[in-house]
């Protein structure tokens, strides 16, 4: 690659003479057409502003480009004429749902309005990514974005460019990208199309991120039939910058040069945002493949290095990445942000295909490009830096002043001397349509919520429990994700302190001080389907807790809101509830939303995905050496750690992984969420980590305590022996103890000698604790006293076999080598020729083992007499809903929800083994499972 220097740009005052061009279009003949003519018929040249002014009644394909009649009329009103072809293309993409947030804007405002005060926030919503100060000199920026539709159409490139896009957002803030994460959701694990989409998406995420040299430190992998036609590829990037290197996107300073840096512009991705991201899929989706961008991570790597060098040399006035809506978005946003105008010579844009027309160049979503604004005296240095890194840099335009009367400047784009665009930039960026779309609680919700999983038959004897556990850990959503994550580089850059499968990724950002950040992304579409408000709070709570259990202090939030069609009032209601839940939750936790992304139209026909808010939480660790990993710690000489369960366990099975895996059931109300309790837990964890009370800590979420015990055991091959507390002893309550998904809980281990201090700290912080057992490094098994004992080899075999069986050969079935290293297991990584060993049962533990006593008699701490506080879902606010349902869009207001009649008689009768009386205070919610006396939770009637 060479650097293309164009000194002509400095000579340009008004409309500069363009370079000689072999195929100069003849001036458009404005008077040639008379009467309505299809606007695509320009046999002899481009559609110019001059021509547009003279052919006002020419038919334009605005509807095909996704614009409504009233939106088109508005464009004509703004311009005082019909738009040119290029202008029409620009408005159609900038006013698309993806770019304009026209359906979501009215709701997203809450993130700003309800934001808790934060002195850390250096850049917030509206910027490419939020920037948070983490020390006097360092800041971090992070954001999660969707690339859902492209990843369904073309999995590899869709996923690859999803990573590439979010990385450029981070780069544009002045940060060096230092890590990525990938929350992924697919249809049923055994569906044939999942076998098409998943390997491509994973290879794309890995192919791009690995080649960029960014460690992948975490993410999600979720399977649910609701994502069958609409898989979700969300990508998060984390960046680090010195606080004084923060970049702006303003095209400030008239006379400054506009430089396009990076790849050549091609026909890829044209219409990506308007065609792909802003409409639902139908039968013709496969023909949209050309709309998916094609990525080249090598160019992006060079772009990163070049930009960082430009920042450090202070050569840049303003910078913006080119992502969705390409040049159109970058030109208009930078100009609108500064209130300036811009003059662009479009024929100077380096093209991959010389036959491209102006509207294609403006709409192209070719990857790996950035737009720079530089002062004329620095232009040469900028071009030289680009040349050093082998990146194309081209001066394509100039910043022009605002109008003499103070109004913002105009964006003037020429194509070989012909003016093809003459618009106020702000009209594309800020003056797009805003809709308060009609909202209505989905009609089926009340029945869904009444159909509670707490009434399903549960396993109630040791054999059934054992079988359930093995089946659960082998289910696709709970099984080992190594098949996916080992395709990602987690080591590059040498600062990865924790990565998947840990609760959070932890990255060291300052080698001299040990300062680091922890990041987790979480979402649960089933919870959100049952109650989008609570479900979103639960996603926030889980991400927050995942960060907290590493010992980090959570400080900021990002989000990616994946929903169906906003034109469906039911979806719009879910969206509004989710946003309200996240905004309220962040206010309660005292941490601000710093940015995010909305993805609508994740819908095939009438079937929308579950509402899927994915929440990312970032925390700070003053010294990453204090981080607490999730795995039980091997100890020599019969030593062991005490195992504690923090938080309260209720009978909460609705929306759970167990209900889905065992009964394919989705119904009831999701677990309660108490953000005050989450906050107490986080403060406890940070303090306990700092003083060294914790040898391991693991969040409890999907799959409940059983899942966490298995994961913590297998991580380093250390067994554990626990006892079921007495109040969970009878009937199916041991099952509840092991598989309930109550929020606000964590599993921690405490080394010998720290027990008293740790439990005292729990009491001081008001976090309920209970010693439930001991680690058993020599035992090699998960032993639940009086219930069952499963050897780690058997657990590992069940846990690790699922994904390789579904997506790859036996050669992919590998186990955690760490266990080999620590000498805690003899099992070797499996290969094609060396399969995982056949599981073997372990011998029962010796009766005189000191650990046995502890197991047999769990001790309980913290006052529990009150039982769980009642923090049920916030009732819907019909007034708020009605006022938000502005029917300016011409729709009828949402009718009232159907009369709330709880169909309790429809619910299956409670299993006979459920005890009729609550055995202990903390378990008193269990009594509700008999179908009566539920004082803790709103009954369906209350909704």
């Amino acid at each position: 690659m060479t650097t293309h220097q164009d000194p002509a740009v400095r000579a340009a005052a008004g409309v500069a003479p363009a370079e000689p061009h072999a195929a100069v279009a003849p001036p458009a003949d404005a008077g040639r057409h008379s009467g309505p003519t299809p606007a695509t018929d320009w046999a002899d040249g481009v559609d110019t502003v001059q021509r547009a002014a003279g052919t006002g009644d020419e038919l334009q394909p605005y509807a095909e480009l996704g614009l409504r009649d009233d939106e088109y009329d508005r464009i004509r009103h703004i311009l005082g004429r019909r738009p040119t072809q290029a202008e029409l293309a620009m408005y159609s993409i900038m006013w698309s749902e993806h770019c304009s947030y026209k359906s979501s804007k009215v709701h997203l405002r809450q993130f700003g309005e309800k934001a808790p005060p934060s002195d850390r926030l250096l850049a917030g919503i509206g910027e490419n990514a939020g920037v948070v100060r983490v020390s006097d000199t360092l800041a971090v920026t992070f954001k999660v974005e969707s690339h859902n539709h492209p990843s369904f159409v073309e999995p590899y490139q869709g996923a690859a460019t999803g990573v590439g896009g979010i990385v450029r957002d981070i780069l544009a803030m002045g940060a060096r990208p230092v890590a990525v994460m990938d929350p992924l959701r697919f249809g049923a694990a055994d569906h044939p199309d999942t076998a098409r989409v998943l390997p491509g998406v994973v290879a794309g995420v890995g192919g791009y991120g690995n080649c960029l040299g960014l460690p992948n430190i975490g993410g999600e992998l979720v399977f649910d039939p609701c994502y069958q036609g609409n898989p979700l590829l969300n990508a998060l990037c984390l960046g680090v910058l010195p606080v004084d290197r923060l970049q702006k996107k303003d095209a400030a300073g008239p006379g400054n040069v506009v430089v396009l840096l990076g790849a050549k512009t091609g026909r890829d991705g044209i219409g990506g945002v308007s065609v792909l991201a802003s409409a639902t899929f139908d039968e013709g989706s496969e023909q949209r493949r050309p709309s998916v961008q094609v990525g080249d991570p090598f160019i992006e790597k060079l772009l990163i290095e070049a930009c960082l060098e430009l920042y450090d040399a202070e050569l840049v006035v303003g910078i913006q990445d080119l992502g969705g809506a390409g040049l159109t978005c970058a030109l208009t946003e930078t100009a609108a942000s500064a209130g300036t105008g811009m003059r662009v010579w479009l024929e100077r844009v380096p093209l991959r295909e010389p036959s491209m027309e102006p509207h294609e160049i403006l709409a192209s979503e070719s990857q790996e490009r950035m737009l720079l604004v530089v002062t004329p005296d620095k232009l040469e240095a900028v071009l030289k830096t680009a040349e050093k890194w082998g990146v194309l840099a081209t001066a394509i335009g100039e910043v022009t002043p605002p109008a003499p009367d103070g109004r913002p400047g105009r964006l003037l784009v020429t194509w070989n001397d012909h003016v093809v665009v003459d618009v106020p930039p702000g009209s594309l960026v800020d003056d797009g349509p805003v809709y308060a779309r009609p909202m209505r609680e989905p009609a089926d919700l009340i029945l869904l919520q009444a159909d509670r999983a707490e009434t399903l038959p549960r396993p109630s004897n040791p054999d059934a429990l054992r079988e359930t556990l093995l089946r659960m850990i082998a289910s696709p959503n709970l099984a080992d994700k190594t098949w996916v994550t080992e395709q990602y580089d987690r080591y590059v850059l040498g600062n990865t302190v924790l990565a998947q499968p840990e609760d959070s990724g932890v990255i060291r950002i300052d080698e001299s001080t040990g300062l680091g950040v922890a990041l987790s992304v979480d979402g649960n579409g089933r919870y959100a389907r049952l109650d989008p408000y609570q479900g979103t709070k639960l996603a926030l709570a889980e991400a927050y807790r995942n960060v907290a259990v590493t010992g980090a202090k959570p400080i900021a939030v990002t989000n990616c809101l994946n929903f169906g069609s906003p034109e469906d009032p039911g979806v719009m209601w879910q969206f509004a509830e989710a946003v309200r839940g996240l905004a309220d939750g962040c206010l309660e936790l005292g941490i601000p939303v710093t940015g995010g992304n909305v993805s609508f139209y994740n819908q095939t026909g009438a079937a929308a995905i579950h509402p899927t808010p994915v929440v990312g939480v970032l925390g700070v660790l003053d010294n990453v050496a204090d981080r607490v990993p999730m795995g039980f710690v091997p100890r020599a000489n019969g030593d062991h750690d005490q195992v504690y369960l923090l938080g309260d366990t209720h009978v909460e099975l609705s929306g759970s992984e167990w209900a889905w895996v065992t009964h394919e059931h989705l119904g009831g109300m999701p677990p309660q969420v108490d953000l005050g309790r989450e906050r107490q837990l986080a403060e406890l964890m940070a303090e306990a980590a700092r003083v060294g009370h914790l040898s391991s800590a693991h969040d409890l979420s999907d799959g409940g305590l059983a899942q966490s015990l298995v994961e913590s055991s297998l991580r380093r091959g250390v067994g554990v022996r626990i006892g079921v507390p007495e109040r969970f002893a009878d009937g199916s309550l041991p099952f509840v103890f092991l598989f309930s998904e109550s929020a606000g809980r964590a599993l921690v281990t405490v080394p010998r000698g720290h027990e008293k201090a740790f439990t005292a700290l729990c009491d001081e912080r008001g976090v309920p604790w209970e010693q439930i057992g001991v680690t058993d490094p020599a035992g090699g098994a998960l032993d639940v006293h009086g219930q069952f004992r499963i050897g780690l080899d058997e657990l590992r075999a069940a846990y690790t076999a699922t994904l390789p069986r579904l997506f790859g050969g036996p050669e992919a079935a590998q186990v955690q080598v760490e266990a080999v290293r620590t000498g805690t297991t003899t099992i070797a990584p499996a290969t094609a020729t060396q399969p995982v060993d056949v599981p073997q049962r372990q011998q029962p533990a010796d009766a005189d083992d000191p650990a046995a006593e502890a197991v047999a008699a769990p001790t309980t701490g913290a006052p529990v007499s009150g039982g769980p506080t009642s923090t049920g879902p916030v009732p819907d606010d019909p007034e708020a809903r009605a006022s938000a349902s502005d029917d300016s869009a011409g729709s009828t207001p949402a009718p009232d929800a159907p009369a709330a009649t709880a169909p309790t008689s429809d619910a299956p009768a409670g299993p006979a083994d459920v005890p009729a009386t609550g055995p202990a205070p903390q378990a008193d919610a269990a009594t509700s499972d008999t179908g009566e006396g539920d004082g803790q939770r709103p009954t369906p009637d209350q909704r």
Partner: protein, 227 residues
């Protein structure tokens, strides 16, 4: 005097910073070398780091071998300069014919990153002289094209001459012939290794500290080398 160990940055190099950190932790002074600069700036040894030099277009390492720095480096290596090629660096050394054979696509066709046990087979090289013969070490492996291949005669010669430096143990992550993870040239000063010792030099970030041995070895080698 502190040894000066060069780390070359090609366009697309990714683990250059990690290699420099490992050099520093081992007690030497890292010197950053640039692909377009043929000058080696008087370094005592050179590390070719992992990554995707020149996008790994055409073939891994195939373009990098023509970089100006490589012209000088190939001569210096033939003259005895210790050179360690890690991952992409190993690929470059093969393309530059400083080492025999080639690295091809992993047999299972996936990029794979895992903590890998290796057995050190040769401690006679400039980069492995602090290990014990047969010592098993744990360091990360991460590559998409790490499957070592060579013709039978070459493989037999490598075995016979003790030039197989390390083999995969407990599972071959990429299908390499004879489980080869690292080899050396006849003189023992040039070593190519597919796994990443530079990612196993700190307890906080690596699976072990076993990678440090490669970097301390070269320092020991340099001390013993007559100036």
């Amino acid at each position: 005097m502190t040894a000066r160990v060069g780390v070359v940055t090609f366009p697309g190099s990714l683990d250059d910073g990690d290699a420099a950190r490992a050099v520093r932790i081992a007690g030497a002074e890292p010197v950053r070398l640039w692909h377009g600069d043929p000058e080696l700036h008087g370094v005592d040894a050179v590390v070719l780091p992992g990554g995707f030099s020149y996008g790994d277009y055409l073939r891994c390492g195939a373009i990098a071998r023509f970089a100006p720095v490589m012209e000088t480096l190939v001569d210096a290596a033939r003259g005895g300069l210790p050179v360690l090629g890690i991952c992409n660096g190993f690929q470059i050394l093969c393309e530059a014919h400083l080492l025999p054979g080639a690295l091809t696509r992993n047999q299972h066709l996936h990029f794979r990153n895992r903590d890998q046990v290796l057995r050190i087979e040769s401690v006679g090289t400039a980069w492995t002289n602090t290990f014990q013969p047969g010592q098993e070490i744990l360091i990360p492996v991460k590559n998409g094209e790490g499957c070592y291949v060579a013709d039978t005669a070459t493989l037999d010669a490598l075995e016979a001459e003790g030039r197989i430096v390390a083999r995969y143990v407990g599972g071959n992550p990429n299908g390499s012939q004879r489980d080869i993870a690292a080899i050396t040239n006849a003189a023992g000063n040039v070593v190519g290794i597919m796994p990443h010792p530079e990612h196993a030099v700190e307890a906080l970030t690596g699976p072990s500290l076993d990678g440090l041995g490669f970097f301390t070895s070269v320092l020991k080698h340099l001390v013993g080398t007559p100036a």
